[in-house]
């Protein structure tokens, strides 16, 4: 007689697994990884590799010696955190700082809560914001891209990001038409492809949107959340631009500069830290968009989406309480 397994129904299981979900995020990030390596060369590869390996290492060490649980580094979540952390820092960030970032990302933001699924805040963003506050100089020194196969480069090695340039210049009393004419301001083509100063992986909007479409088709993320963030930023930027076009940049500038796309597509949509109900997610997206614009316009930093997402992460449990699925057969009085 063969051994028969007894268990409760259902006896079949779908194709989905945590590992598949995590690796589809990794696949979705590949176009942006390649573009970043193209623009920043070995610097990008160095930051990416350091970050991913450090994240894997810290997760392995903590899981094995502190949590004493089964191996988790092959579920892909540490790889995703590593890539996203690398995407959120400048390409010339020194290796020790990256390792500190990875330790905060995995050690503090993820494993101290119990590992995957338990963390209230997006680990890569916690790591990024920690570095931004702790190493402000290194984290805001942006290397200018040097495409791999381009001719010998100019001597300008670092430069401001478009958003940083706008903010500094406005603070210096300049007005927009003058700022936009600045030679260090990249044109739209450069901005779409990622040929400008900024964090490693945030700049190539085409690559990020491609990755996002892949995730939407694979049903790993929904379209409502990224779209609600991007639309909110667009609408509010448009309102301000309409009020004073000399002082507030046009809305499309906001969409295609800084970390908005990376944040909206890959960070805000993190399953663990975002609300579960579709309407809750839309509200969450609108709030992130609003906070992003507020920080960008009035905040001390030129960039705001990291803070916006972290702030809203804290509201996720509350949103989950308030937004429930439509129940079947609920009596409406």
């Amino acid at each position: 007689m063969q051994q028969l397994t007894i268990s409760g129904s259902p006896h079949i299981h779908g194709e989905e697994s945590v590992k598949k979900i995590m690796y589809s995020v990794v696949y979705a990030l590949i176009p942006a990884v390649l573009i970043s390596i193209y623009f920043f060369g070995w610097d990008a590869a160095r930051v990416l590799l350091t970050s991913v390996i450090a994240c894997l290492f810290f997760e392995w060490v903590i899981q094995k010696y502190l949590i004493k649980g089964s191996l988790t580094i092959n579920d892909g979540s540490a790889v995703v955190a590593g890539i996203l952390l690398a995407f959120n820092v400048p390409a010339n960030l020194p290796v020790p700082i990256i390792i500190i970032g990875a330790l905060v990302t995995i050690g503090i933001a993820k494993m101290s809560f119990g590992g995957l699924g338990k963390n209230p805040f997006n680990p890569a963003l916690v790591g990024r914001v920690f570095l931004l506050i702790s190493f402000p100089a290194q984290m805001t020194t942006w290397p200018v891209p040097r495409p791999l196969f381009a001719k010998a480069v100019t001597d300008a090695i670092t430069g401001p990001t478009p958003l940083g340039l706008v903010k500094e210049s406005l603070d210096a009393g300049k007005r927009l038409p003058e700022i936009m004419a600045d030679p260090s301001m990249p044109d739209y083509i450069d901005r779409l492809t990622g040929n400008m100063a900024g964090s490693l992986g945030e700049m190539s909007y085409i690559a990020l949107i491609l990755g996002g479409l892949y995730l939407i088709i694979k049903k790993v993320i929904d379209w409502q959340l990224p779209v609600s963030i991007i639309l909110t930023v667009f609408v509010f930027a448009a309102i301000f631009h309409w009020i004073d076009p000399m002082y507030y940049v046009e809305p499309s500038f906001h969409l295609f500069s800084g970390g908005l796309m990376l944040g909206a597509i890959f960070m805000a949509t993190d399953m663990v830290t975002s609300p579960m109900n579709m309407w809750g997610r839309i509200l969450y997206g609108i709030a992130i968009g609003l906070l992003t614009i507020i920080i960008r316009i009035w905040g001390a930093y030129p960039e705001g989406i990291s803070f916006a997402i972290l702030i809203m992460n804290a509201f996720t449990p509350l949103i989950n309480r308030g937004f429930k699925p439509r129940r079947f057969g609920k009596i409406v009085n």
Binding site: L4, T5, G8, E16, S17, V18, M271, F328
Partner: protein
């Protein structure tokens, strides 16, 4: 292409694997011994009225309904009562059963065994209900609720629609499919009988679009039955759930905690309609049913006409044996069926199929932490939050699980099927339902 009707909320699309869809219904030789469990219907088990050594005929009453919700059991074979003793049933418990040593095949004379189709319905409403009760008919979709009780509409309620469930949304199973193809007219007459008993003017037979042959066959036949409509439905699990079927076919939503009659509907399975035909037109009790025996490695996936009480071993022999490396035997479909501990377990009124899973599909994959992907919420056809209810059950927070409407759960398993972290959500939900049900009952007392 116009999209077909279906329910809106949740649902999944597991692989269909209907290997036995083209295997005609075949009989199997009578076994040497039948084990007829007493607890075959929802509600109270009937009391045996035979004792050791009694001679019985096919169709003779051997256990009599003992409560309001109970159903008669008739002898599925002729022979001698060996004993009344405990036997393992599909739930894994040992419960009382009547063991019959089969001798010959002598039928009770009152049963019409001819092949002729009796189209004229001579019995009146009350007689039909009495006959159905007497012949021990229960819902054959799996719930085994005594059919005659369903036909007694409570005071103040009225049925507008009779829905006949030909959905068969469980993967692998094909017994209803074959029945509609091979006994289509009898199903329609059974439907007419149920309509008469319920005094409804309209009946709809819902069939999923993956059974085009059954749909076209019944549509052809229904030309003579103008008040029966054949509704093709989009393929989606769990459309065979009665609340989902009502929503799909007539777009009415049964309120939480209520029965279909609340929205003017009564739902019966096609198998039940056929059994009703046989009981009313042929005076035949529910002593046999169609059982699918299938699986990826089964050499001859089949649909057998089986006497109640036949051990599964006998079915396996007819299907050329149990495949090597079988890891799980399921009584019912793979989504809602029960895993069996042995092949000695008999077929009962509620057994729609036996599905054999190979070893590599038998064990659950390793459980991972919940990543709050919300796929279980999207899959839930009742609009619940399975991840949350499972967690509440795990933490023994049953009051909160109750306000989260855990009792609405129909145990379809869509959440667990979908969960990428392989969390046994339905195990926890069942535990929670059991505890919350207990809470509700103690509160009432």
């Amino acid at each position: 292409m116009k999209s077909l009707k279906s329910f809106r909320l949740g649902g999944i699309h597991p692989p269909e694997n209907k290997f036995s869809a083209h295997a005609p219904i075949s009989s199997i030789p009578l076994p040497k011994q039948l084990i007829v469990p007493l607890g075959q219907n929802l509600g109270v088990a009937p009391k045996p009225i035979v004792k050791k050594g009694d001679e019985v005929k096919v169709g003779q009453l051997i256990a009599k309904a003992d409560a309001f919700i109970s159903a008669n059991i008739h002898s599925p074979a002729s022979g001698k009562v060996l004993k009344i003793d405990d036997a393992t049933d599909s739930s894994g418990y040992r419960r009382p059963a009547i063991f019959i040593n089969v001798e010959g095949d002598e039928w009770d004379e009152s049963i019409d065994r001819s092949e002729t189709i009796n189209r004229e319905i001579v019995l009146d409403r009350q007689q039909i209900i009495e006959r159905i009760k007497d012949r021990g008919i229960v819902g054959l979709g799996g719930a085994t609720f005594p059919t005659h009780i369903k036909l007694m509409i409570p005071e103040g309620k009225k049925a507008d629609y009779l829905l006949i469930n030909g959905v068969e949304c469980e993967p692998y199973l094909t017994s209803d499919h074959r029945l509609m193809i091979e006994k289509g007219e009898q199903v329609l007459i059974g439907t007419k009988i149920l309509m008469k008993a319920l005094e409804v003017k309209r009946a709809v037979i819902g069939i999923e679009a993956n059974k085009p042959d059954a749909i076209s066959h019944l549509r052809e036949l229904s030309a003579d039955y103008t008040d029966i409509y054949i509704q093709a439905l989009q393929v989606k699990y769990p459309q065979g759930g009665e609340k989902q079927l009502i929503k799909a076919v007539v777009n009415r939503e049964v309120p939480s905690g209520k029965l279909p009659i609340e929205v003017g509907c009564v739902v019966s399975n096609v198998g039940t309609a056929f059994a009703v035909y046989e009981a009313v037109q042929k005076n035949k009790p529910l002593i046999e049913r169609i059982v699918t025996l299938t699986g990826k490695a089964v050499r001859k996936p089949s649909n057998f006409l089986v006497r109640i009480g036949t051990p599964i071993t006998d079915l396996l022999e007819e299907a050329q044996g149990m495949p090597e490396f079988t890891g799980k035997i399921i009584n019912g479909g793979p989504m809602m069926g029960k895993a069996l501990s042995t092949t000695d377990i008999p077929i009962v009124k509620g057994s729609s199929g036996i599905v054999l899973l190979p070893q590599e599909e038998s064990r659950r994959p390793e459980e991972k932490p919940c990543i709050r992907c919300s796929k279980c919420i999207q899959a839930c056809p009742m609009g619940l939050e399975p991840y949350l209810l499972a967690k509440l059950a795990k933490l023994a927070l049953f009051e909160r699980a109750e306000s989260g409407k855990i009792m609405d759960c129909i145990e379809c398993g869509s959440c667990q099927y979908t969960c990428p972290a392989n969390i046994p959500l339905l195990d926890y939900l069942r535990l929670g339902k059991q505890k919350v049900g207990h809470l509700i009952r103690t509160r009432k007392n």
